[in-house]
């Protein structure tokens, strides 16, 4: 795909911002403390990154899926974790409301999220329901006045410690089996009965805390329900479609970052009296890395293009996510290999990329779930 001027301009903006603002000092601090950095988040918000894909009437910039993919790719190329900062509002945070929210709900929740004044996160996974989201056990009991009482535990919820609101999926009708009878709610995180687990110690993506969200008799009003009370699972899957595109773009960004670091290093590093780039074993690795990265990028851009054209993009998103996530790991592996011992030391960017890459084939649908989706569509 050939990007038009507008998207090239947007790519330039994202790249400029990431290269200038994501300083080594900031990235080291995120890595060391694991804490959310409000300053960089506020700066991203100020420039409008949190609202790229949110429509103008809800306070966003009204950008398309392609812009969203470019944003995540360019941020991840410098810092995978900071690409999440700008990603959430545009995908899993804002997505469900754009999909199924009433006009009132959209007006209430989206503008502050688009402007980065509030953080909205997404809670589907449970201790016993990961890839099998149909196994949701969190309960939402409808009261006579139409309000709900929520009980249950959501796990690995990225961004929960900072969140003002959280999209929660809960069983509204336990009589229905599997993915049926699940409702989607906006949970105000400040309500009584909501508590947080301890932040997890993660392998990578440090600086965007993840923890459990526990709900004990949380009373939410009627208008906390988004969409129809038994169609939540469908909304979740549709939202994840878009989310997948973002995470695929994150994979592309990580691969691109690894490739660039490796080219630079291979030209500088001398062994046996010449730059290691002159050895075919290294240069061919670079060629493989570039090929996989570019293939992944084209899959992502193509899927985005389909979504922007209003075409069915479910399969394309899964293919892109599957391929880009795996490619990011292949490329990161080779990047560390090219760096040799230095690649194993945290002073070098590829060490961090390597760890960050590992989550991409896991979250927002594992590679195996993508294989199921793809094969399911092939064989239906």
């Amino acid at each position: 795909m050939i990007l038009d001027q507008k998207h090239l301009r947007f790519q330039k903006l994202c790249r400029q911002f990431a290269e200038t603002e994501f300083t080594k000092e900031l990235l080291d601090r995120l890595e060391e403390t694991g804490d959310f950095d409000w300053d960089i988040f506020k700066k991203m918000s100020k420039y409008g990154f949190c609202g790229v894909k949110i429509p103008k009437e809800y306070g966003g910039a009204g950008g398309d899926y392609l812009s969203y993919a470019i944003l995540v790719e360019e941020f991840a190329r410098v810092s995978p974790v900071l690409s999440i900062y700008a990603n959430t509002s545009n995908s899993l945070g804002g997505g469900p409301l754009m999909l199924a929210g009433t006009e009132e709900q959209k007006q209430k929740y989206l503008p502050p999220v688009a402007r980065g004044e509030e953080i909205m996160v997404f809670a589907l996974t449970e201790p016993g329901a990961g890839s099998d989201a149909g196994g949701t056990t969190t309960r939402a009991e409808e009261q006579e006045d139409g309000s709900f009482i929520l009980n249950g535990r959501k796990t690995f919820i990225s961004g929960a410690p900072m969140a003002d609101n959280c999209i929660v999926f809960a069983k509204t009708d336990p009589s229905q089996k599997g993915s049926r009878g699940i409702g989607m709610f906006v949970l105000d995180m400040h309500l009584p009965g909501v508590s947080l687990g301890k932040p997890e110690h993660k392998m990578g993506i440090k600086g965007y805390p993840t923890c459990d969200v526990i709900m004990e008799d949380v009373h939410v009003p009627k208008d906390a329900l988004v969409g129809q009370k038994d169609k939540g699972f469908g909304y979740a899957m549709k939202t994840l479609d878009g989310g997948r595109l973002g995470m695929a773009a994150q994979g592309v960004g990580i691969a691109q970052g690894c490739l660039e670091e490796s080219i630079k290093y291979a030209k500088e590093r001398k062994q046996f009296g010449r730059p290691i780039a002159n050895f075919q074993a290294i240069s061919f690795m670079l060629a493989d890395m570039a090929t996989e990265t570019e293939a992944a990028r084209q899959l992502v851009y193509h899927a985005a293009e389909l979504k922007d054209a209003g075409k069915d993009a479910g399969m394309a998103c899964s293919i892109a996510k599957y391929y880009a996530a795996e490619a990011a790991n292949h490329v990161a592996y080779k990047a560390v290999q090219i760096h040799g011992g230095y690649g194993y030391i945290s002073d070098y960017k590829v060490e961090r990329f390597y760890r960050d890459a590992r989550i991409v084939p896991i979250y927002e649908g594992t590679s195996q779930v993508q294989q199921m989706v793809i094969s399911g569509m092939l064989l239906k």
Binding site: R9, F10, L13, G48, A61
Partner: protein, 266 residues
């Protein structure tokens, strides 16, 4: 209030420089950027727009390819962009360039409340001449090397950097101020600005549009009309590589000290 911001697209000389066989710079092969000091001027204009209300007009002279740069300035927050572009203008030196840009601004009109902001100098020539020469052609008072600009009604109080300090100067609008990097931290384009830039007005002023402009003497513009000409350009001779000292840190330091001593440097 209208603020004209004069901007130049320049080759990025901080990276790898492409050179033609004849030793001149191959501009076509080099990435282009918005001249850094000009971004400070743009930022100053946008800050004034935010605090005082103003229409910000980005003005540049350059080839048609500079159009995308103009879109970037619109994406930063400029309200209008004007690109002065024509074969007849190509190869102009600073004298010629400044009368063309001054002509363009005069053509658009400069009122009592208006302001012209420029970067101090462009990194491809480092001359710092176009700003003051535009001011002269437009009969505007000028302040160069601005590190602080304060507006109070029609009065601007400007801190002007000197090598050994600064001076504070007061001028009234309309006037021209050239800006340096100490003035401010230029913003990026905004996400919204990027998406909206294509809808904002970008005007091209060509030779036909400006040839009757009284500030422009058609015989002193372009490569042939410019008062100054390149007599010759050349590469400085390459100095031969010296000696790389070997060994541990201690050994290298000792070897160096010995050599410096032998040369009576120490």
């Amino acid at each position: 209030m209208k603020i004209y911001v004069c901007v130049k697209q320049v080759p990025d000389t901080s990276g790898v420089v492409a050179v033609n066989p004849d030793g001149t710079m191959n501009r076509a092969k080099m990435p282009t950027i918005i001249n850094p000091d000009d971004l400070n001027a743009m930022e100053a204009a946008l800050q004034l727009k935010e605090s005082e209300g103003a229409t910000v007009v980005a003005v540049s002279m350059g080839p048609p390819q500079a159009g995308e740069m103009m879109r970037e300035l619109l994406a930063m927050g400029a309200d209008e962009a004007v690109l002065i572009s024509g074969r007849e203008f190509g190869g102009s030196d600073t004298f010629a360039t400044s009368q063309i840009i001054a002509g363009g601004i005069h053509h658009m009109g400069i009122g009592k409340e208006d302001l012209v902001l420029c970067g101090r100098q462009a990194i491809d020539g480092d001359t710092a001449q176009v700003g003051p020469q535009i001011a002269e052609k437009l009969h505007l008072p000028q302040v160069t090397y601005a590190t602080e600009i304060k507006k109070d009604g029609d009065t601007y109080t400007v801190k002007r950097a000197l090598e050994d300090g600064y001076m504070t100067i007061q001028v009234k609008s309309p006037c021209l101020i050239t800006c340096i990097k100490e003035l401010n931290e230029p913003r990026y384009m905004s996400v919204e600005g990027v998406f909206e830039a294509d809808e904002k007005p970008l005007t091209i002023l060509d030779y036909e549009a400006l040839k009757d402009e009284r500030l422009i003497e058609t015989d002193t513009i372009g490569l042939n009309g410019s008062p100054t000409n390149i007599f010759r350009s050349f590469n400085p001779p390459v100095k031969g590589q010296g000696e790389m000292l070997q060994g541990t840190e201690k050994e290298m330091a000792a070897a160096l000290a010995e050599k410096l001593s032998a040369k009576h440097v120490i």
